[in-house]
Symmetry: C2
Subunit: 363 residues, 2 copies
């Protein structure tokens, strides 16, 4: 029996044990083909089956409408920070960005290397982000090429529990990296969704893009082929060599998700896990302080602080001694961050909540 810690890493993150075991068992000889999935051609039958199954499962799980393309690309959300404006921002046009955390900051900064990106709203206050933006405070020009937001801010622990409104005719673009596949999504409300796989969907090295066909059709054409959504859409994401193993693991995760009951079931579990941690926080306000406003609290990245750096260090050391790892807050903000992605067992979240209660009693 392999050792298994409670892995609260923010991404790359915990994966289902059953997925890892299957990947291990198939690693040297993929289903009797006499070679590893790592060694199969991206143009061969074995990998192509995995590739198309992955695309089909994403469509089915998320209920992606027929007039959207689902793409598998490389470069993570960071590359999408650039590719979204490169494709969707016409010369002389402008886009609107709502910023509710550090990734939104990066997204707008990168967009500004491409064209005009206007800050429609920011919830930054004193260097911190503690909430999502209200629709009525976002100043979005009706002529904006798109409205960009980040559904979950991994570092700040700020998450939208609704889809924000956009003016009629302004497509919504969403960086969904860290809560993608953690709950159902009404894809029809979006022009573009992108997500690095390394939170809920699989390993790092592959990025999922869901984009409406009409946006692809009217996107800029004066770009390098490799950066055009149209290129990847026209070739079923096999324009160039796919990150084959990474896609294969995503495929295994999607099968596991279906066995779990799909996105409705996973959302219910996600609510329970996050509920357990927030309850432990709220029950001991003298020891744990959640900086994020209640209705903006993330169910995938729960952040909190302790009264002193010494207590935080003691808390983290105690957690590590109990084989609960990956709880240190992002280096830019400090504190504690509890990442509760799909593959984190509910028992791990409960164990952490118990430890928090015991810690609070003894503190």
């Amino acid at each position: 029996m392999a050792k298994r810690v409670h892995n609260f890493n923010p991404g790359p993150a915990t994966l289902p044990l059953a997925v890892l075991e299957q990947a291990r068992d198939e690693l040297v000889d993929y289903r009797g083909t006499g070679m590893s999935i790592l060694e199969h051609s991206h143009r061969g039958k074995a990998y192509e089956a995995v590739h198309h199954e992955t695309l089909a499962r994403l469509r089915a799980l998320l209920g992606v409408p027929g007039d959207y393309a689902v793409l598998l690309v490389q470069g993570g959300a960071h590359q999408q920070f650039a590719m979204a404006p490169m494709n969707l921002l016409p010369p002389g046009g402008h886009a609107a960005y709502v910023v509710t955390g550090r990734w939104g900051e990066r997204a707008i900064a990168e967009a500004r290397t491409v064209g005009e990106a206007r800050l429609a709203a920011s919830t930054e206050a004193g260097g911190q982000y503690a909430r999502v933006a209200r629709d009525d405070e976002a100043d979005v020009d009706p002529g904006a090429a798109y409205l960009h937001y980040t559904s979950n801010e991994t570092i700040d622990g700020v998450q939208y529990q609704r889809v924000p409104a956009a003016p009629a005719g302004v497509p919504l673009v969403c960086d969904m990296s860290s809560d993608f596949l953690s709950r159902p999504v009404d894809v029809a409300r979006f022009g573009l969704i992108y997500a690095g796989a390394q939170k809920n969907a699989g390993p790092s090295g592959v990025t999922i893009v869901i984009v409406k066909n009409d946006l692809v059709a009217r996107a800029r054409q004066d770009l390098p082929q490799v950066f055009r959504y149209a290129t990847h859409a026209a070739h079923d994401s096999l324009y160039h060599t796919a990150p084959t193993f990474n896609v294969y693991v995503v495929c295994l995760v999607l099968r596991w998700l279906e066995q779990k009951g799909g996105l409705g079931a996973i959302e219910a579990e996600s609510r329970r896990k996050a509920g357990a941690i927030y309850e432990a926080i709220d029950d001991s306000p003298e020891v744990f302080r959640a900086p994020v406003e209640r209705e903006s609290r993330s169910r995938v990245n729960v952040v909190f602080r302790l009264p002193t750096p010494e207590l935080e260090a003691k808390f983290l050391a105690g957690a590590e001694a109990r084989e609960m790892v990956g709880l240190r807050g992002h280096r830019s903000v400090g504190g504690v961050r509890v990442s509760l992605y799909n593959a984190l067992a509910p028992e791990s979240a409960e164990l952490l909540a118990e430890y928090m209660r015991a810690f609070a009693r003894s503190a």
Copy 2:
């Protein structure tokens, strides 16, 4: 004992069995850490050790001079077709391309979406490429921002057995994807080398870039951060989430390469493998025809034709029956292609040569 075929795939391609077995054995619990390498944070100790070992091994194996950066990025050679001109082609400047096959065609076409890319030489004749370019036929303006060539054309089987000359002050840029790590390279003669890992260096999903610091320093700064070599150089290729598992497998391959005796030893083995196949071709000119001129013959991708499509099909079927797979020529050119990457056992090449001789006798 797992089944193991003779894998002549052109990429993704065969990997050393010892590497696959180690990856399998460590997949669920990476060295007693209680999690998979797939689940480790790219900012954690376990992965960072792998990452920096990979960079250090690349430096050591290739003897990379101190004034070069070694980068690990995503997107394959296709993304470098764009990133190289985006970084190195100044506004109003021009670059020179020598085209000796289909990948060179793609490289110059992509560069032309970025700026002015001039065809310095092409060896295309009647829709085919059969040789590298002579230095005296390449018309390179001394003011060119760089001179680009492809050291090995995977589809056409055309390989440079020397480093082409460039006018003084014109940096040499090389797509080395398919013969990277198959022989020693004098890195100091290049401004930029790039290579998708999925031939000799590892799995698909990670790209190795070696670039001279002075080129990085004077590269364009008005690009998205994620496409600037400077960004990745400044962050030791951890600006954003690395494709962690892919880099890990590259690291294992580099260790295996060192155990094999390094690039000198692997080149000697590569010569023997290619020699066996070319000998089998040349010994039966009535059955096998190598379209590439002798001094431009690739040691990593040997291409040949049979007199009729029927004989080619019979040849490929017979190979498959002997568990020799991946021999079909690229769909754009047809014929037979024998990819002889580092991890292909010499015995597999010998077995194929024997089969070719037997086939020729019976044909």
